[in-house]
């Protein structure tokens, strides 16, 4: 029996974190209204629904707001439980998925920002090397978790795919704008194949930002902000 209540996602098209609940809802074939927020002019609904952080994404189910992208993904998985499972069923596999999802947020995204912020070659090279070390750990994790299948979740997209895959467009844009190569078929062949499988997945392709559009936004808005923040420290 489908749980009652309308579903809204408050978000913005460039945000990797907003992609996460959208992919999860798509996987579960749940219809929802996407409310595009303007970060410079936050809606009353957003401020009321996420008073602690005032940030997107927010999922509103009926009248109940859920905040923090990975908390939202788990909520979606637990509410629409008759559909395909996002978290694996085995507790140890669940722990692995949670561990690696935390890793990408704690390590990979900040390191990407360091690459962008670096204004000397040495700093950039150091950040790129750190990023690639992380990728080789993730390549290993993918091999272990996928058990020979396409995704971290196996045959189907799972929690870790969603957590990591949402950054793909941003990694691509970083490669172009910062003139670095992050993903290398010879170093991380499974990850390179995974990027393609994930990006073309029906639950993903319509919510993944186009590289060109994102690049403009990154170059004009986000990357200057990242550099300014780094310079201020």
């Amino acid at each position: 029996m489908a749980p009652q209540g309308e579903v809204k996602v408050l978000g913005a098209w460039p945000s990797p974190f907003v992609m996460r609940p959208r992919i999860a809802l798509n996987l579960k074939s749940v219809e929802y209204e996407f409310v595009e927020e303007n970060p410079g002019n936050k809606s009353e609904l957003l401020l009321k629904s996420n008073p602690v952080y005032k940030k997107i994404p927010v999922l509103i189910h009926g009248d109940k707001p859920v905040c923090e992208s990975l908390v939202i993904v788990q909520y979606i998985d637990e509410v629409w439980k008759d559909s395909t499972s996002i978290l694996p069923s085995d507790p140890y596999d669940r722990a692995m998925a949670r561990f690696w999802a935390a890793y990408v947020d704690d390590k990979m995204f900040p390191t990407m920002r360091e690459i962008v912020a670096a204004n000397e070659d040495e700093a950039k090279a150091a950040a790129v090397a750190l990023f690639k070390e992380g990728l080789s750990l993730l390549e290993e994790a993918l091999v272990k978790m996928s058990k020979g299948k396409k995704f971290f979740g196996g045959d189907e997209i799972g929690y870790m795919d969603i957590a990591f895959g949402c950054y793909i467009s941003w990694f691509k844009v970083t490669e172009i704008v910062s003139n670095v190569k992050l993903f290398d078929e010879s170093a991380t062949p499974h990850l390179v194949a995974w990027i393609h499988s994930f990006s073309s997945h029906p639950a993903v392709k319509d919510v993944m930002p186009e590289t060109d559009k994102l690049m403009e936004f990154a170059k004009n808005v986000v990357f200057p902000r990242i550099r300014a923040a780094a310079a201020a420290k």
């Binding site: 602690v52 189910h61 859920v66 507790p91 722990a95 949670r98």
Partner: protein, 230 residues
Amino acid sequence: MGKNHEEVQLIGTWVSPFVFRARVALNLKSVSYEFLEEKVGAKSDLLLKSNPVHKKIPVLIHHGKPICESLVIVQYIDEVFDGVKILPEDPYDRAIHRFWAAFLDDKFFPALKTIRMVQGEEVQKKLVEIKEGLALLDEALVKLSKGKPFFGGDQLGYLDIALSGFVAWIQVREKTYDVKLIDESIIPNLAAWVDSLRAHPAVKDIIPTADGLIEWVRVNLGPPPAPAAN
């Protein structure tokens, strides 16, 4: 309950608020475990082998397989071992517990931890941040507890466990900075919660004293670092 007597080891220290979470969860489920205490300044081979990515405690080892990251460990313990349920049944309540647990790690603890690194005006700012965080948690407690002693209701739940490790460290800051952070006139619910937590069977024998932690800091970390020159 055969499951709860299988081989379980926990790598950690008695001072770490994150290790404390795992210990409370194991106690709550009546799981006997071997506590492998790490020495300060010298990480064991077992730790380096079990958590090669972060090289940090806590690490839970179950059936020879390591699980890392304190909140991941707590959820694992909840899912594998019989007994009291740590996460609530309702998905929305689970989301609220998880939201606040993330808040503790992303916002609250960094303020609590880094106050040691600053001086003067900056100390006051951190104290305000900590107090604001506690006020939010007091509000959340009222909503989640529904009149019972804990975030989990009658019993310790996920958010109780997530916050439990910071209680002694909050008291360390109170003593060090001569300030009342758990002020029963401002946050009466959280103040009562602290008393209930300290008395709970899963907590009372393992919770460190503020004095014990202050002494540990003095011996192992020395005086606070001088502020960085600009």
